[in-house]
Structure formats: C-alpha cells, structure tokens
Amino acid sequence: MTRFWTRLVVVLTVVCGVNYVAWRWAASLNWDAWWIAVPLVAAETYSLIDVMLFGMTVWRLKIRKGAPPAAADATVDVFITTYNEPLDLVMTTALAAQRIRHPHSTWILDDGARPELRRLAEEHGLGYVTRSEDWKDMPRHAKAGNLNNALMVTEGEFLLILDADQIPEPDILEKTLGYFNNRRVALVQTPQYFSNVPADDPLGSQAPLFYGPIQQGKDGWNAAFFCGSNAILRREALMQLGLVGYVRETEKSIRRALAASQSAIRKARKSAHSESPLVVQMLNEVEAATQEARRRLDGGDSLSEITYRVRRRVDQAVQTLVQADVSALQADLEEIAAMELAHVGESGVPVVAEDAVQRMSARDWSPLGAMESVQAVLDALSVERTGEAQPVMPLATISVTEDMATAMRMHTMGWQSVYHHEVLAYGLAPEDIATMLTQRLRWAQGTIQVMLRENPLVQSGLKWGQRLMYLATMWTYLSGFAAVVYFAAPIVYLLLGILPVSSLSGDFFIRFIPFMIVNQLLFAVAGRGIPTWRGQQYSLALFPTWIKACTTAARNVWFGRPLGFAVTPKDRQTGGPSWSLIRPQIVVSVLLVFAAVVGIARLAAGLSEPIGTLVNVAWVVYDIAVMSILVRAVLYKGFEPELSHQEGDAVPAEGLIEERKIDGA
C-alpha cells in the first residue's frame, strides 16, 4: 500500500515538475536579465532531474525479509582497516569482531605498521597484516591498496570489511551470509550508523535517507552499492574484477607504448649517441621488434607472448652487438700484445672477462639504457604491470572512494548486490566541523572522480536502471553550483529589482506551488517519518565543499593534479570554534540579510512590487534557515553521552547503542 502511495506521489512530482520547468524555459524567461535568468532556470532544471532520479530510486524500494540461513562451511575473513587510529579504538573493534559467531578469521590491516598493534594482535590471537615488500616505492592507493594487499595473503570465501571504529554485532555474519546462497550475489551492504551522535545530529552525520529509502530503492534496481565498511564481499567477484582490470590495463599500456614507439625511436636517432653504428643497429632492431609486436597484436597473439618476443629480440640484438664490440676490443688488445710481445711477460695476452658481454648488455650498461624514451617504450611492453605493487588490484584504485567504483565494476560484470537494512555495526562519526568537512569533501571528490573516469551512462555491462542509479548519487554532488544560483537570485532581485522571471503572475504560482508541495510530500512519503531536514540543509549549506570537490576532482582527472587529500581523523580536533571554515557561507548569509533589508526599504520607497519582494524575502528566510545549521555545527563541542550510561563500559557507548536499537525498532 505504501508502495502505491509512493509511486502516486512520484508520478505527481514528475508531472508537476515537468509542467513547471517546461513553462519556465518556454514562456517565463526574462531575456533582458539573461545572465541571472538562464542560470536560475538551469539550476531549477538540475533540481527537477535530481528529484526525478530520487523518484525513480524509491519507485522500486525493496524491503527484504532477511537472509536465508548461511552455509555452515562458508569461510570468512574479517578485515579491520586502520591507518592511524588510536590502538584502543582498533582493538575494541577487533575484539568485537573476534566474537562474531559464524566461524571466521579476524585480521587487522595496519597501514601504519605499528609494532605495538602487532604485539596486541598476537597477544589476542588476531591476524595482523601490513604491506608486503612489493609496495616499496609504489603507489599505495590508501585503503584500497591496504585491502588489495591483504587479499593476497588470506583465503576466506567472503570478506567482511570494517573500518577501525565500526564495532560489529556478533550476529552480523549470520544475518547476511545467507544472501550469498544466490551465487550471483557479490556484495551485501549494511547501514553505517554512528553511536556518538546526539539526537539533533548537528553535523548531519547519520544518513537515514541514504541508509534507508535510497539504498533500498537502489537495491530494487540491483544497484545498491558498497560504502567502504560494514559490508560483506565475495572474494571470487573481487578477484575477477582484479583480473579483468589487469588485462585491460596491460593491453592499454602495451597499445600506448607501441603507438609511442615510432616517435621515441625517431627522437633517439636524432640524439647525440646516434653517430655510433652500434646504436644505429640497435635502434633498427628495436624498430623491427616493435613493428613485429604491432603485427602480432593485430593478429590476436597473447600479450605475454608478444612482450616476451620483443624483450627476447631486443636482448639478443643488444647482446650480439655488444659481443661484436667486445670481440673488436679483444682483437685490438691482441694486436697490441703482438706488437709489444716483449713487454707482456708472463701474464700473457690480457683477456676481456667472460661475463663482460653479459654485464655490458644488461639494461643499465647497454647503450640502449642511455636512451630514456626508447627504454620507456620497452619497459611498458610488459605484462608485469611494473608501475603497481601487484599486477592484480581487485579493489578499484581510480578514486579515493574505492567502494563505489568497485561496486559499479561488479555490476558491470553482471554480479548482484544486496542492501540489508538493519544496523549491525556501530561506528564513530566526526565530532567537529573541520573533520566533518574533510570527510564530506573526500566523499564528494571520490564520487566525482568515478563520474569523470568511468561515467555510468556509458558502461556497457550496466542496465539502464543501474546507470541512472549511479548517476543519481553523482548528480546530488553537483548541487553546489545550483545552490550558488539559488542564493544569488533573491539578492539580485532585492538589491537591483531585477526579476529573472518575466512576471510573478498567477501563471507562475499555479505551476510552482503544486510542484513544491508534491516535492516535499515525496520526501515525507518515501522517508516514512525519517528526519530529512538535516540532509536538505547540508546539501545546500555545504555548497563551497561541493564546488571544491568538483573542481579539484576535475583537475585531478583531466590534468593529473593532486587532490589535496587527507585521511579523516577519528579523534576530535582541538581549539576554539572555527568560524573561518564557513567564511563563504557567512558572507552569503550577510549578503542575504542585507538584501532583504534593502528590498523592504525599496518596497517602502515604492521602487519595487509587493509580490516580488514578498516571494524573495521568503526565499531569503528559507536560505537563512538552511544555513543556520552551520552555526550549531561550529559551536558543537563533541558528543557527551547521557549520564546514566557513563558507567565505564568496556565498549564505549554500548549502553547507548542498546537504547538506540530499541528506539529505532
């Protein structure tokens, strides 16, 4: 029944929304003020698409009745990822993980390689993994790298992934493993819930709409995605992704190297060494070898064979040429000896050492080694993926949020995912605005990176529903640009009297107001009483963060510039209120209030119309209400558990967790 009402409101929202926005484009634009009129209608179109994607998400909302019983012999590795979190926090999670009931091995994946943590792990009989030797001087890929490293030394069929602060329930596996009885299921994601957040959630840490109707809706489209923690993954699916990725990257790098080889050889021929006949001959050999490789690639030969032949051919040529050179040298020495026979004495003819040819043919001594561009081509003609610590990288490394990218690749390969809507682990949210902002920036950057690197709309293995579900999440992170327009429009009207709409007549209200009402209704019906206001506030109020995420991610993907990325600290930053962090929002708020005062004064002076002023002042009031949350966020002093629960529990906030579970049930 609820599903019927949800769908009815979705249909109404789409009808009213399209009716309003189409009219805005067709008949309402004030072209005299195009510079504000066009951005505003574009922002409104953005919002319409956003709400339509949300409507599509909840259209298929899937409420699961729980998993069937798991196979008793399913083997599981529990991975606890840590980098610099306090040891007691890590150990609290690790010991809780050890108490999980289904048979499993618990591993601490310590990217900080802390001896003390190793000792603690051993003391409690926990597995402990740090990066292997292979990672030395290689890109580390943060958490994705940490997990990829551990995958190579463990053997469980399934992997439960937990952030260092996510304390699991003992029944987390019993409640989720059964989903994998379906052999196509690769992922079961459970909610991320935070036990150190007060009821009013000043930092907007809980994401009840996301870990609720949104993931449940995505689940209905087989597009629920991995969120980095509190999820169970099938090793086979991950390894398969790793292999497919390996083949794709290797082939790409070989093709690129072959394409670049001609110009590299040409360049080398022009360089200083090219006088020597030895070098000329070597370059001819390299050229012939790469041409042969290109032919073989087009002919469908395997990559290992092609690269092996190139290497073999070039190595043999180098060796033959060096041998010739050395023989000439030896002949010269003998000639000299013959001429000066008397002086040689007992030591005889000097002989070039036996291993000299081999030594001088080796990469670092060979004349080829001196020609970097050619050497780079030859290095890239390999199947060892020399630029990475390990050839097979199961978790995607194209983004700082490896989780979403990995899930999308799984869906591309035809795997299925499950969202299990029950809190089975309790984590810690940031307790100050600085940390919160860093975390949100990171998520947004990662999402935009995935959008730019692997646009879901063009991933061939995905169904259209899945493509749009991934797009929906990415789309929400573009809201920063729309927010700027939504703040600018009322300021422009109230200060200058310029209206982006041709007139605020009945035509406008009769289209706009129904859309607004059904829009809010949709969130109320789909959310079923979940508080969504905090989320709405933050999606507008953090506009500088969202814009920064888009620009930095675009620069990173297109121009290879660094993101300026930091790990989210789990303990609270110290110091007074950090107003400077929300400077753009303060400036905008002051401008909004100033504009409202001026607008009212202009109305009093008869310079503007009452309706226009009323609408825009109301708009300002809404904007200020949205932004007001930041004041509470900046002043928030961290979480203080209620007194009755402070009785020195071994597990922090455990009592509170119990209470929350009862409340929430």
Partner: protein, 110 residues
C-alpha cells in the same frame, strides 16, 4: 592441491593437481617463488590435472608470471582443461596467456 616440479632441458615443469582456488593460490605463489629462487626462471605450469581453477588461482598465476619475468625468464601454461579454459575466457585472461597443448610445446619454439 598437489604441487610438484621437475627440471627439464630448458625449463622447469610444475604440475598442479587438484583445485587451484583461493585456498591453494598462496601456496602456488610460494612454490613458484621457490623454484625461481633455485635458478629456474623458465617455467611451464602443467594444468593437465587441474580440475578446477577460480579467479584467485588465476591471480596467483599472474603473480608467478611476474616473478618469472623479473628473474629474466617466462611462465607458460599447458594442457588446460575445459573449466579452466572457461575461467580464462570469462576474465579475458586468454588475451594475456597462451595455453599450449602440452608442456613440451610451451617452450618449443625458443
């Protein structure tokens, strides 16, 4: 899984009998690393008696290929059974590895 090896004229032949899966993958990697360390870097993995392979097993083969190449040799596979061939195709790993009909043929042409 049963692992054994035999040094032939120009290569070392490794036989992997049984199931090459997530449990035996690390063992294969270690085994090959030892063979390479003992001086044989031209390796044929004979899969005649490998009834089953999963993606972890294939991943281990790639790791072994890397080890052999870095030691200046190569790793080749021979006598691939139908299930293994399917996994090779599914992951497009057949783009990387050629399957030779028999261990003797793997290094037959060089």
């Amino acid at each position: 899984m049963e692992l054994s090896y035999e040094v032939k004229d120009s290569y070392a032949e490794i036989r992997a009998a049984g199931r090459l899966n997530m449990v035996s993958a690390p063992k294969l990697r270690e085994f090959v690393a030892d063979v390479v360390a003992s001086g044989s870097s031209r390796i044929v993995v004979n899969l005649e008696d490998t009834a089953f392979m999963d993606s972890s097993g294939l991943g281990a083969l790639i790791g072994c290929l890397k080890a052999a190449r870095q030691a200046g040799g190569d790793l080749r596979i021979a006598a691939v059974q139908p299930q293994v061939r399917m996994v090779l195709e599914l992951t497009s790993m057949d783009r990387v590895l050629t399957s030779y009909a028999s261990a003797a043929e793997a290094f037959g042409n060089d």
